[in-house]
Subunit: 450 residues, 2 copies
Amino acid sequence: MAKKIIVIGSGAAGMTAASTARSKDPECDITVFTQDEDVAYSPCAIPWGIEGKSKWTEIVMHEPEFYKKERGIKVLTKTTVESVDDAAKTVTANGKAYTYDSLIIATGGKVFIPPIEGTGLNNVFIVRTVRDGKNIQETLKTAKSVVIGGAGVIGLELAVSLRNMGKDVVVIEMMNQVIPRIADKDMADNIQAHLEEMGIKFVMRSPIQSVNGTDKVESVTADGKTYPCDIMIFATGVRANLDIPKALGFDIGQLGALIVSPTLQPYKRGRLVPDIYVAGDLVQCESAIMNGATMSQLGSTAVKQGAIAGNNAVCGEKRIFGPVASPWVSFIGEKQIAGTGLSQGLASWYGIDVVEGKAVGLTRARYYPGGKELIVKVLAEKKSHRIIGAQIIAGEEATGRIDWLTSAAINGTTAEDFLIRSENAYCPPTSMVKDVVISAVEDLCRNLAQ
Amino acid sequence: MAKKIIVIGSGAAGMTAASTARSKDPECDITVFTQDEDVAYSPCAIPWGIEGKSKWTEIVMHEPEFYKKERGIKVLTKTTVESVDDAAKTVTANGKAYTYDSLIIATGGKVFIPPIEGTGLNNVFIVRTVRDGKNIQETLKTAKSVVIGGAGVIGLELAVSLRNMGKDVVVIEMMNQVIPRIADKDMADNIQAHLEEMGIKFVMRSPIQSVNGTDKVESVTADGKTYPCDIMIFATGVRANLDIPKALGFDIGQLGALIVSPTLQPYKRGRLVPDIYVAGDLVQCESAIMNGATMSQLGSTAVKQGAIAGNNAVCGEKRIFGPVASPWVSFIGEKQIAGTGLSQGLASWYGIDVVEGKAVGLTRARYYPGGKELIVKVLAEKKSHRIIGAQIIAGEEATGRIDWLTSAAINGTTAEDFLIRSENAYCPPTSMVKDVVISAVEDLCRNLAQ
């Protein structure tokens, strides 16, 4: 009899899991439950959707009809799963119980909204779904001033999009730098200065205290000062959505996310749960850099986990999800900023002494037109000389370089070994003869030798 | 007393060696001898110089005066070294003997010109020095049709530059594909088709038999057919310039280049030569992919070797030049093509059975405007599943990706391990959520499993 696969969640993790399950088993019966009205889009796309750079119809990759016709996957949108019974192996939605052989939980994350007054007012938004994006876009037609809560990458990308649309934009951030936690302050300050040049205003070290207004938002108060606005958008980070795992009594880790085996199965009081797999923002990962737990709430991680969960749900063969360095990249104004592994802040959280190396150069040979500034920073553990993280700011071509450094960090390469065992491709239109990545590691080696 | 360092050769290897020696020892006496009239330029720049995209004054990084004033390095241009006496430790030039404590030989390569008739005619050029470039540029003012001998990367870059200048360009190649040896035929054919669309003509499988004319070139004969032209340019590859090493009786390797130790010292009848170091196109390297000799006549390699030779010439500490994967990249028309490690052809030369994986995607999320095609091909050794090479064609952002795959190849990573231990940074304007590199390795793993 055909195996029954149920997926809860229609984001990158859930839909990748469903499609992978189909590709591995042409016979199985696959049903996806989602509260959302759209499926298989990238939340990372929403700032570009609001600005109109990308079309909503293109951001939503496929309609439910496509999945039904082309892949034999049933997608039930706007459908809330009421309960899961892992003993009876059923999922209940709309009062009806559906049985499964394998269940994939990919319920993602919830935007964290601080517990303050006024967050329920009209024109207060989060940025998570295409519906959120469309609502913001509609409201912007009659709005001039926007407060964005949170200076993470989504907050900053959104700030640029709204500024490009001619809005007055104020970003309010609790910490003393933009892109806190994953970027170092020197790199973050470079990006902040770039955004300030575009006319975006920043209010730093200021926790938001209240959202004010009668019917709709009129202002936001942070650190005792009040900032008038027509729209308020929370881009304050994402927490694992644990409603279903908690109801099932699954083990929750020290970072507030679901503990999983390398095969992406959850645990219940220390014992592996059979026939259930998880993927995406609700999963607690293992760090590839240091022994220990870490979060990796990235679209790229969701897709990778979704493929493994989907495979393992239908196959005897169990694929393994490895530890993560969590490389990230963002395009903010005219600059790309990318990072991997540990920042100074994360290293200090892990209790590691760090030595850094830095180099500034160009993305092309100095005599070839159009070259853009390229800043590379590399961090090593002082004790072992292992490369544990890196960050790049560049006008172009940051992504491949950070993936390169990610490999070095995941493989435990020392700075000295990196210099011996790395080469860079060169031609005048695409790099300097000695790539800035190499120069940064040379600087790191000099600093380690001191 | 200040140490005396002599460098022969003023290319990327020689000038990097001289500058590195200076940075390591502020006191030493450094003299560079060069036959050339310009110093420290990148031969890779010449196609862009001819087209006018880059200025000759910018391609030549520094004048001899700069080295004298700013770095205390004497550069004797247009000066031929007549002999070296490695027992007396002297170099003779212009009839005068100069003593050295350490000598660095960085005499580079010579463009290979086939031993046929007519290569001495006027308007027959090679592409090696800025002087060559300027001469070609001057002659092009009154020339319409050009034959380029050799479809390697320099030949193709030059073909595009000349086509952009409105010339009729015919490229004649002995092998059955462009970029022979280092690119696979499927990737090469993609680039050739792109150039043919630009109006560049190709004559394949046709060794050049004669260059014809009375005073200046009028036509070129290849494989029995004759192609009229106003200019003929040989871009037929580079051979190690071994005049000095041969005169000194140094050991020459099986690839016709100088055998060196990891510290970049030559051998004489099997014994390491003290106080002499070499760097650049005349050096035979060790392959990082297979045990065995290989050539790495790249600007990036020359700079890396120059720094090590310069360091070792003045320091007690001896740095090591590691085995090479020789990543390369070229910007040809609107496409970048890059490669690393072994191609199918080189793998077959080493006697390795190969399995390949390939994926086609975009450089950006499919809904983000401006994304360009990205083709990634990865080769693994069938027996060990080790990644041994890769090639990329992309409208943008090939360089960092090939450096990433270079790390994998140098570190002996298997295809399966790459999937577990690699992650890619993602944001819609700079990559797909699953990078095409990862998709290509997935395809490789599927093919290896069959």
